[in-house]
């Protein structure tokens, strides 16, 4: 690990100011950052500890939603009575990721900022456009079984690893931030991540020193909340394909709310509202689900080892819809 200067922040704006220096980073849970610092993939020269800020509360909003402090741990968020009762898709997504130990440390804000687990990103003696811009992407013609099929570019096919962020995308969460100059903004998760294009090292719209302070969930959505995660082992593995869903079926057996977001297949948490619109109002028969899958995957591109994710996503989508129609879910 490279040397760094450590400081503890007392207030959000002060933290943002401290971290707006070049090559500075915030640290909260640290479960991904320290892992990457040990491998010298992340090499901040200044580390601003934000764990003592008062940002670990969950409060209800006037709109009937929840405002979650960025330091709320993944364990606390997944087990919070309001989340369990009204946003079970979020609880299930969080619980699908990592381990008890990691969820106790990992924070809400930090979870959004996890880096990819692409082998080449982690392999410091190999080229990687995300780690060292301009060096190339060996994954495209190499080991890419776990990597993305949607949102990719000729520079990068790294998948976004988060489960939590998939549910947050589904729920139309907004990410509140503070900048070094004290200005704040609320960024919808849909606008938070950047596609890799030819700058895969730029993963989100945060500016230097900009600190996530809260995540706001709108009022709950009625329906069955499910999170399905297909992976190589039953626990503690990243998704090959995952699907967060909120689906409501009316008295006539038609789908009257359909929200779907996918993990493991995209360079960012993946949601296509056109797919939801296509399914809404239908009875979810095989033909319409096939059309929905075609639409979802029309731009999907496999690179050999990860070709299987295309049929796997189709099958997962079908299972999620059929199960909701049968009235089964969390």
């Amino acid at each position: 690990m490279r040397r760094f200067e450590y400081s503890r922040a007392d207030a959000p704006q002060q933290a943002a100011m401290s971290a707006s220096a070049k090559e500075a980073a915030f640290i909260a849970g640290g479960t991904n950052l320290l892992d990457l610092m040990k491998l010298e993939i992340e090499t901040p020269i200044k580390l601003v500890d934000v764990t003592h800020l008062s940002l670990a509360q969950i409060e209800t909003t006037d709109e009937g939603g929840l405002r979650i402090g960025t330091l709320v741990s993944n364990s606390d968020l997944a087990g919070h009575p309001e989340v369990v009762a009204n946003y079970p898709v979020l609880s299930r997504a969080i619980l699908a990721g990592a381990t008890g130990q990691l969820r106790n440390k990992a924070t809400t804000g930090g979870n959004f900022l996890q880096r990819t687990r692409c082998y080449y990103f982690y392999q410091t003696d190999s080229p990687c456009n995300k780690r060292e811009p301009g060096t190339g992407c060996p994954a495209i013609n190499g080991e890419n079984r776990s990597l993305a099929i949607l949102g990719t570019s000729d520079s990068c096919i790294a998948q976004h690893p988060s489960d939590m962020a998939v549910a947050m995308r589904l729920l139309d969460a907004k990410i509140e931030t503070v900048k070094a100059d004290g200005n704040t903004r609320a960024i919808p998760v849909s606008e938070f991540y950047c596609l890799p294009k030819d700058t895969p090292h730029i993963e989100n719209v945060l500016e230097s020193g900009e600190l996530i302070t809260h995540v706001v969930l709108p009022a709950p959505i009625d329906g069955m909340h499910t999170y399905d995660k297909v992976r190589d082992r039953a626990s503690y593995a990243f998704a090959l394909v995952s699907c967060a869903a909120v689906i409501d079926v009316d008295d006539n057996g038609n789908l009257d709310t359909v929200r779907l977001a996918f993990g493991g297949i995209g360079t960012q948490p993946w949601r296509n509202e056109e797919v939801e619109a296509l399914l809404t109002g239908t009875d979810g028969n095989n033909d319409v689900v096939t059309q929905a899958a075609d639409l979802l995957l029309q731009d999907a591109k496999g690179n050999g080892q990860n070709d299987f994710k295309i049929p796997l996503t189709r099958r997962l989508l079908k299972q999620v819809i059929q199960r909701a129609l049968a009235g089964e879910g969390a």
Partner: protein
Amino acid sequence: MTTLTLTINKQDYQLDNLDARTTLLDVCRHHLQITGPKKGCDHGQCGACTILINGRRVNSCLTLAVMHEGDEITTIEGIGMPESLSALQQAFNDHDAFQCGYCTPGQICSATALIEEVKQNWPSYVTADLKNPDGLLVQEIAERMSGNICRCSAYPNIIKAISQVLESEVTAQSKNATTDALQGSQVTGIWSPPPSQTQIGQSSNHSQASNTLGERS
């Protein structure tokens, strides 16, 4: 000169000019000779370094010591020593829940916190009803322990050991809850698990527990 004070197993340790890069695991092992927490992968994947911070299990390899001034840190040494084994330590012995033993301190720290999590009704990925998790189920224990790897694959006996203590503590808690409700007293803190039947020298009545276990597994 900067001084860092860490509270480990209820004892204060002062560290002068500690390199900020030092993890809590390395402070314990290399600076304080608290060698219960083990270094396996050093990347949060194996769980051998699991300790408790303010009652919660974490990977001590993935956190910096300088971030933990004022926290209550507990390693396996603080859970029980040879002359004062905790219920879980005794159960691991009784069920032969290890072979080489390298992962055991992490397994026991993790399981100690798991029992509190179950008592506090935390759900897991395999929980059917998120509002009412049945933490006693074998699949629940397996899922909740997935952050602790055992290369000797002693998993069946690890689960038996945890099941035994979990059953007795959860049963004790529901009895206490009734008593507490009657007396209006506070629920005991996370660090005060009641002594096990074994610890207080009484053999427990296992008939009901074994029946339940049999059905669950």
